[in-house]
């Protein structure tokens, strides 16, 4: 199946800084892709390249086989919801939503009808004559969505769509946006630095670092099989422990960690890590606390209570800081404990070469 939106080798430099380097992505029709990365990772640049506000130094952008790389934003028919919404403050809600339709030459009853329909879509029926500064933050965001969707763009772009909302409103709005986009069925790219947002909204998530695409996959894939410690650390909670690889075993790898030996599973498709120094990425739920000859010794420094379970930070005798999840009353800060892989550790322990970052 040919992709609906295809991005190939997209590269953009600002002066000396490489904001996007050889980014390649493809989306099927109606798919939702989340660009996830820390600030400065180039995710917004990729979005602006898609919108046409920046011209790439190299690479191509295609929609349904049509090359739009150099098509001006005016003619590109990509809808965009800006981080601060960029609603026109001097126009009322109806005129904001109708702005793109008027560009298409629409007027009169047809325009009014389409504006009403777009507002109904975001549950703001009848607010046409409302002034922008009379709207709440959540309403402004919905107007921005309605304005972007009204001219029926080919692709919808969302720049940090939830960052401007109160934390209490965020989760609800996230659900509403997901529902709405599914209903409209529009191909969507969104930018976020929040892993929860990316996982909740994206059918697939693309992790960016320093302008480079590190990994693209479904949330499950990223969590279960990160390609490097960066992706592993950015997606979900984890700790990094220096270890020594001793060699392969029948079902995994034998490693030495702080004087004890563990045997860990190797996920399918993961590269073999050669014997010698290596890094172990561990998820808190892949470990347990226990008194065992196979356990690493350490001391609990803090406990973070989350209800059903707690996250315990343990500093080991070797100086590593490891997070372990356990029942809230398991131990108290200050106590000595031992850490060892839990019985269901599969997918929560990942080995990387020592020079991996």
């Amino acid at each position: 199946m040919t992709p609906f939106l295809a991005v190939e080798g997209l590269t953009k430099r600002f002066d000396r800084v490489v904001a996007a380097e050889n980014v390649t992505l493809s989306l099927t029709r109606g798919e939702m892709l989340a660009l996830l990365g820390p600030s400065g990772s180039g995710k917004t640049t990729v979005l602006r390249l898609l919108a046409g506000f920046e011209t790439p130094d190299a690479g191509r952008i295609q929609v349904e086989g049509e090359d739009v790389t150099t098509v001006e934003p005016v003619h590109r028919r990509f809808g965009m919801v800006f981080q601060h919404y960029a609603l026109f403050p001097h126009l009322d809600v109806g005129r904001n939503v109708g702005f793109g339709l008027e560009s298409l030459g629409m007027k009169g009853p047809e325009l009014a009808e389409r504006v009403a329909r777009a507002l109904a879509l975001v549950d703001l029926t009848g607010l046409e004559r409302r002034r922008i500064d009379q709207l709440s933050g959540g309403q402004q965001q919905r107007v921005a969505l309605a304005r972007a969707l009204a001219p029926e763009p080919r692709v919808l772009l969302l720049d940090e769509p939830l960052s401007n909302l109160d934390p209490t409103l965020r989760e609800r709005t996230r659900g509403e946006i997901r529902e709405l986009i599914r209903r409209v069925g529009i191909t969507t790219v969104l930018v976020t630095h929040e892993q929860d947002e990316a996982f909740d909204l994206g059918d697939r998530v693309a992790v960016l670092r320093s302008g480079k695409l590190e990994q693209v996959g479904t949330p499950d894939e990223l969590y279960a099989a990160p390609v490097n410690p960066f992706v592993g650390g950015f997606v979900g909670r984890s700790s990094i422990v220096p270890v020594t690889v001793l060699g392969p075993t029948s079902w995994g790898t034998r490693i030495a960690v702080e004087g004890v030996e563990w045997e860990i599973e190797r996920p399918a498709g993961h590269p073999v890590v050669l014997p010698g120094p290596a890094l172990l990425l561990v998820r808190p739920e892949a470990l347990r606390l226990g008194d065992d000859p196979q356990a690493i010794a350490g001391r609990v420094t803090t406990r973070r209570f989350t209800g059903p379970s707690s996250y315990f930070t343990v500093v080991t005798a070797g100086g590593a800081t490891i997070e372990v999840v356990a029942p809230p009353a398991a131990v108290q800060p200050g106590e000595r404990v031992g850490i060892l892989p839990s019985r269901r550790a599969a997918g929560g322990l990942h080995l990387f070469p020592a020079d991996a970052v």
Partner: protein, 556 residues
């Protein structure tokens, strides 16, 4: 970007226009001063240095300007502290009233002073009548008179900038100081004063530059005492053009030197640091006696400051020749105003000033808007040059520009960009335009900077082309800034005296020159009526411009 091409073409055109109208005339003045009938010569410079009168005028300009700064600070700072920190009865009205001289043309202030404190003015007449004096108690002339006018009209810079800084002071800083045990005096010294420093530096520079370029007061009150601007005009009248060029260059050099020494941008002072939190609440004065005293002091000072203009209004209603020795005019009439409207010769200057100022304003707004938009689009490398050229006329006294433009546009050399415009209708609008560029572009580029750039992108992604985005989004949002810039440009051009006196023709004589000639013909009532019209129009236009502020900003 694809817009870069048309953007750089526009930038190149704008740059060429600014180079031609701003930099070229100034450069030419410098060069002409060094040219004689047979090539390059230092003869004029030697002559300038050897004449004691020249050096005296230069020194006069310097010390008058410095003294003006000191006096203006002495009035403006306490006034700002009083009105910004204490809740006086009628404080809001008072705050607006004492800022009034900022919008009034300098010449109006000078004439008003003349009517109030001059030999036949209101106060000397009153004193003569009260004490039975034969002679007026003083003569309003020389450096003292100039300084009085300067202090009176330029305290506004200190008042406005210091007040803005005080209002922008984050109240929580004062609360923090108090909670850390600092008393009122210590928090004033450690929190308020450092916060005011940029405002003080900005006001000092603004006052110095205005005083250095001031022409009306030295021209009317100077008598034998010369400062550089009046000296230049006198030299021109003597026909010593080349010497006038050297004088002009020396004045320009002094202005630029001052700018370099202070090296502070008054634009930064007004902002006063990013404002967060609420401004300090005014301190209510509780004790009735203290409240009364503070109120009397505030209103008394305001009355003193506004008295000249009130006198001007009074004089405008006095029939010619009826007010001689009485403390108050014996008769009142509307005839002076009727003359202004009904006598075509009298009406002409009014109409002239109106159209001259309108043309100059439209042009200044267009150039400033183009400059601001080009800069915002970060389209070209010419950006810094445009920025500098738009701001440069601010640092150059009006007399200097008048001479410079008169030099460029007095010969026909089309290849050198010189045309004969002196003596035509067009030289005055051009001069006003150039003089207005800094103030107009400052107002407009502040508006452009405040625009969220993603609004432009939103319009583009919604399919609006450049024209439609400009008309539907950018210009409507810039309306307050455009109005403010236009009103400032109009007010300055409408009341201009310093450039007009060197470039006007009989057909284009503006109000300011008609005021002067009415005074010379002892037509005091008509001169006052012109002054009042100038005041009213300036005030109204300024109010119109600042009324637009605050409406239609960008969303949070």
């Amino acid at each position: 970007m694809r817009r870069a091409h048309s953007g750089s073409l526009g930038a190149a055109l704008l740059l060429a226009l600014l180079l031609w109208l701003v930099l070229y005339p100034l450069a030419l003045v410098l060069v002409e001063g060094l040219r004689g009938p047979e090539g390059w010569t230092l003869a004029h410079v030697r002559e300038f240095v050897s004449r004691p009168t020249e050096l005296r005028a230069l020194w006069g300009s310097l010390w008058i300007s410095l003294a003006s700064v000191a006096l203006a600070a002495l009035i403006g700072i306490p006034l700002a502290l009083l009105l910004a920190r204490y809740d006086l009865p009628g404080g809001r009205v008072l705050g607006g009233l004492v800022a009034l001289p900022a919008v009034l043309p300098p010449l109006v202030g000078v004439v008003a002073f003349l009517f109030l404190y001059g030999e036949t003015g209101f106060i000397p007449l009153l004193l003569m009548w009260l004490f039975g004096l034969e002679e007026p108690p003083w003569r309003l002339q020389g450096p003292g008179a100039i300084l009085l006018v300067h202090a009176y009209s330029m305290y506004v810079y200190f008042y406005l900038l210091v007040r803005a800084a005080l209002v922008s002071l984050d109240a929580s800083q004062l609360e923090a100081a108090a909670s850390l045990g600092a008393g009122r005096w210590r928090s004033f010294r450690t929190v308020v004063i450092p916060h005011l420093r940029p405002a003080l530096a900005g006001a000092a520079l603004l006052t110095f530059m205005t005083a250095l370029g001031s022409f009306s007061a030295p021209y009317v009150f100077g008598g034998g005492f010369r400062v550089m601007p009046t000296q230049i005009v006198a030299t021109r009248l003597n026909g010593e053009d080349q010497l006038a060029m050297v004088q002009t260059a020396s004045l320009a050099a002094m202005a630029l030197l001052a700018l370099l020494l202070f090296r502070s941008d008054p634009r930064e002072a007004v902002g006063g640091g990013g404002r967060k939190g609420a401004g300090p609440t005014r301190i209510a004065i509780r004790r009735p006696l203290a409240r009364l005293l503070a109120g009397v002091a505030g209103w008394g000072l305001a009355t003193l400051l506004l008295l000249p203009h009130l006198t001007l209004v009074l004089v405008s209603f006095v029939p010619v020749g009826t007010w001689t020795t009485e403390p108050l005019p014996p008769a009142y009439t509307l005839e002076n105003y009727a003359t202004l409207v009904l006598d075509p010769v009298r009406l002409r200057p009014l109409l002239n000033s109106l159209w001259l100022a309108t043309v100059a304003t439209v042009a200044a707004v267009a150039v400033a808007l183009a400059g601001a938009l080009l800069r915002a689009r970060r389209a070209t490398g010419a950006r810094r040059a445009i920025e500098g050229l738009l701001a440069l006329p601010w640092a150059v006294p009006g007399t200097v520009f008048a001479i410079a433009l008169a030099t460029v546009f007095s010969v026909r050399e089309p290849l050198a960009g010189r045309f004969v415009l002196v003596g035509t209708l067009w030289i005055l609008p051009i001069a006003y335009l150039v003089r207005n560029l800094p103030i107009t572009s400052r107002a407009i580029s502040a508006g452009v900077r405040a625009l969220d750039p993603s609004l432009d992108e939103a319009a583009a992604s919604l399919g609006a082309g450049r024209r439609r985005a400009l008309l539907r989004v950018t210009l409507p949002l810039l309306r307050p800034a455009l109005l403010a810039g236009a009103s400032l440009a109009f007010v300055t051009a409408f009341g201009d005296f310093v450039t007009s006196i060197m470039l006007y023709t009989y057909d284009t004589r503006p109000i300011s020159l008609e005021i002067l000639s009415s005074l010379r013909q002892a037509d005091v009532g008509v001169a006052a009526a012109y002054g009042v019209v100038l005041m009213l129009v300036s005030g109204a236009v300024f109010a119109l411009g600042s009324g637009g502020q605050g409406r239609g900003g960008t969303p949070g």
